[in-house]
């Protein structure tokens, strides 16, 4: 029987297109200081540290955990680095969760970051392709993502207009998020008329490239009270994978996400996600993914995502708000993004989400993922 684990401290940087005042290590320190202060702890109270970053080519520093260990207070503590593409932040949190749930540690600090301004993002993502088989045609993850969105249009009705509504909603929500750096009011028409990058993906379907870090303090039930009387309890968490180029792989729906959701919902007692969740945070690398996640997460039936966004149900004042933080549209430091989604979900059930707080949020869902849509995870948090 695993032990209960709660999130007792959260922190993130004020994300930016480029931070020229701090190194990667300095960025990490800001998030760590904020998470520790939020948990009313010092680094001495931390038993173990998980450092999560995106693919190493993003940042030119191989094995960055050895560099940032001073900055995150890791000296002479257990430190591991976790990396899993876009899902890195959630994968890092999962590694920390296991350490406490399994009884190894009482408090674990998880810090995730990327300083994307320092590299060449799409080019380095293209190196995820097989060097023999497709890399010469790679357009980062964008060409692939656009191609399967195009396929979902025909089968699931995920129209350009529906995706544009996701962009409008998330941009609007980001206006209320003090950590977001893209703050602009846009319309569906603006999105539709924005420059095509990898059609159907257009400029305003795409989140920014950001520098940013995020950190959480995870605690056992026994030690949680020192930090807060209202932790965000982790009711279930999972991260699933499918083969990259296996026979008859469906790219239209994310099977690993549906699997992760099923398993975690069962653990958390979720039978009707649309009604039970008060708030949802998803990691949308492009607007089209948010539509797909509505379906894989069971917020609506397959083929109904366009209707769901059009109904206004996922707006901040809707019955199932999705990304009240603005999601990736406000900031997208990829290695940190999965952890930021978890932090935003935790902030909601801890009642400290500020201007984008959903009133009385008690049960929250966070989603994150990486790879060719083949690594997908979810977490369920409760007050």
């Amino acid at each position: 029987m695993s032990r209960h684990v709660g999130i007792v401290g959260i922190g993130q940087t004020h994300h930016a297109r480029r931070r020229t005042d701090v190194s990667q290590a300095g960025l990490v320190r800001e998030a760590v200081d904020r998470a520790l202060a939020d948990a009313k702890l010092t680094i001495d109270d931390i038993d173990s540290i998980v450092i999560a970053t995106g693919p190493v080519l993003f940042a030119a520093v191989n094995m960055p955990e050895k560099w940032v260990v001073d900055a995150c207070g890791g000296r002479l503590k257990p430190v591991v680095r976790v990396t899993s593409g876009g899902g890195t932040g959630l994968a890092g949190a999962l590694a920390g969760y296991y350490q406490i749930a399994g009884g190894q540690h009482e408090r674990v600090l998880v810090v995730a970051y990327d300083k994307l301004s320092e590299g060449n993002l799409q080019y380095s993502i293209s190196t995820l392709y097989d060097p023999f088989w497709g890399r010469e045609f790679a357009v980062g993850i964008m060409g692939f993502s656009a191609a399967y969105w195009r396929a979902r249009m025909d089968v699931l009705g995920h129209t350009e207009e529906a995706a544009a509504m996701v962009s409008v909603k998330n941009h609007k929500n980001a206006l209320k998020n003090p950590y977001a750096h893209v703050k602009k009011v846009i319309t569906v028409d603006d999105v539709m008329k924005s420059r095509p990058l990898a059609w159907p993906i257009k400029l305003l379907d795409v989140p920014p490239i950001s520098d940013g870090a995020a950190a959480i303090v995870l605690s056992s039930e026994k030690m949680a009270a020192k930090s807060t009387d209202r932790p965000a309890w982790i009711r279930g968490m999972g991260y699933f994978c499918e083969a990259d180029n296996a026979a008859s792989r469906s790219m239209l729906v994310s099977e690993p996400l549906a699997l992760a959701a099923r398993r975690v919902y069962r653990a958390a007692g979720i039978t009707d996600p649309r009604r039970q969740f008060d708030v949802v945070e998803v990691q949308e690398p492009y607007t089209c993914f948010e539509l797909s996640y509505y379906e894989s997460l069971g917020l609506c039936a397959p083929g109904e995502a366009a209707e769901l966004i059009a109904s206004g149900a996922t707006e901040i004042d809707g019955d199932i708000p999705v990304n009240p933080s603005g999601g990736c549209m406000g900031a997208n430091p990829i290695g940190a993004t999965g952890l930021i989604r978890l932090i935003e979900a935790a902030a909601q059930v801890m009642g400290k989400a500020g201007d984008h707080q959903i009133p009385n949020a008690k049960l929250a869902l966070a989603q994150s993922g990486g790879g060719w849509a083949n690594l997908r995870g979810v977490a369920v948090l409760s007050a």
Binding site: G26, F132, W133, E136, A138, W149, D154, W199, A246, A247
Partner: protein, 318 residues
């Protein structure tokens, strides 16, 4: 019982691949100040106020306590040798600058290994020109009479360097192995695309592989695939980016060759690109157009193009 694949080692030289990244790194306050100050021939360290420990060159965080309460200082240019080794690039040494609590690595110049001893006094040799890096010091030389220096306050520190270009070329050589070896041998020598049967025998896996991803059992015999297939997904690329192989716009397509159960990524051309999104869709039938080159890579297929007679819905458009 499935027949074992008739795979044989192919004597192909490895695939050479270079990843060229144009990084721009931000050093942060301490290292960024250090880099600018070396141009003024000042050697900047950091003192952590709470721990009292001094680090040269300067760091944003105390290496012992992680303390961030850092004040920048001017370090002496002399110190003591704490370790050394001969490398192809010369003698590398760990050096403890006078007044510092931590060592750092630099080169030893104008000396041979036999002259060096742990504890020997050394002194920095400045390079003629500044590159705003630690190489503004070209190395350290033996200086038996160098006086013991002191850490001093840093007056009028320069603004830290906000970013430094850091181009990185990474050269790789990827081995083909027997399955990819035969695949690209066939493509290059015969313009023939070959996969292997999946274990269930229901379709062809391409690229060929030793194990079926689903059942994790050995795959079956080699099969020649036709150079026709169906578009499963496509997008029209307008984005320009580093490392791009052809100028946009072009179509990025994931194509399922007839008989295959996995995807092949390529580009689609031979159409009016201004109507690309109407003319090519999921379901569009396409055929490979072979290039005249025979390099043994996917680029031996120049591109795919729609097969007009098989795209009935689009037939009048072609």
């Amino acid at each position: 019982m499935l027949q074992a694949p008739d795979t044989y080692p192919i004597d192909r030289p490895p695939l050479k691949s270079t990843i060229s990244m144009a990084y721009t790194l931000t050093p942060g306050r301490a290292a960024g100040t250090f880099m600018v100050e070396t141009g003024k021939r000042r050697f900047v360290g950091s003192r952590c106020v709470s721990s009292g420990l001094v680090c040269v060159p300067a760091q944003d965080f105390c290496p012992r306590t992680g303390g961030a309460d850092i004040e920048l200082v001017v370090a002496p240019e002399a110190g003591t040798l704490t370790g050394f080794t001969q490398t192809a690039a010369g003698i590398l040494a760990t050096i403890r600058i006078d007044g510092a609590d931590f060592d750092f690595v630099h080169k030893i110049v104008d000396s041979s290994l036999v002259d060096l001893k742990i504890g020997a006094r050394v002194q920095a040799v400045w390079a003629d020109a500044s590159t705003q890096s630690i190489l503004d010091i070209s190395g350290f030389q033996l200086a038996p009479n160098a006086p013991i220096g002191k850490i001093a306050p840093l007056s009028d520190p320069a603004d830290p360097l906000p970013m430094k270009p850091y181009p990185l070329d990474l050269h790789y050589e990827h081995a083909f192995g027997p399955f990819y070896g035969r695949l690209f041998d066939e493509i290059g020598s015969r313009h023939r695309i070959m996969g292997v049967r999946s274990t269930s025998g229901e379709g062809v896996l391409i690229p060929p592989r030793e194990f079926d991803d689903i059942s994790f059992t050995r795959t079956g015999t080699w099969v020649t695939l036709p150079d026709t297939g169906t578009v499963s997904a496509m997008s029209v690329i307008h984005l320009e980016f580093r490392g791009q192989k052809e100028p946009p716009p072009y179509i990025y397509a994931e194509i399922q060759l007839d008989g295959a159960v996995t995807r092949l990524i390529h580009s689609i051309k031979g159409i009016d690109m201004s109507r690309a999104s109407e003319l090519v869709k999921p379901g569009t039938r396409v055929r490979a157009v072979w290039s005249t080159s025979r390099t043994g890579s996917l680029s031996d297929i120049s591109h795919f193009e729609p097969i007009p007679e098989l795209n009935s819905a689009n037939a009048t458009d072609m």
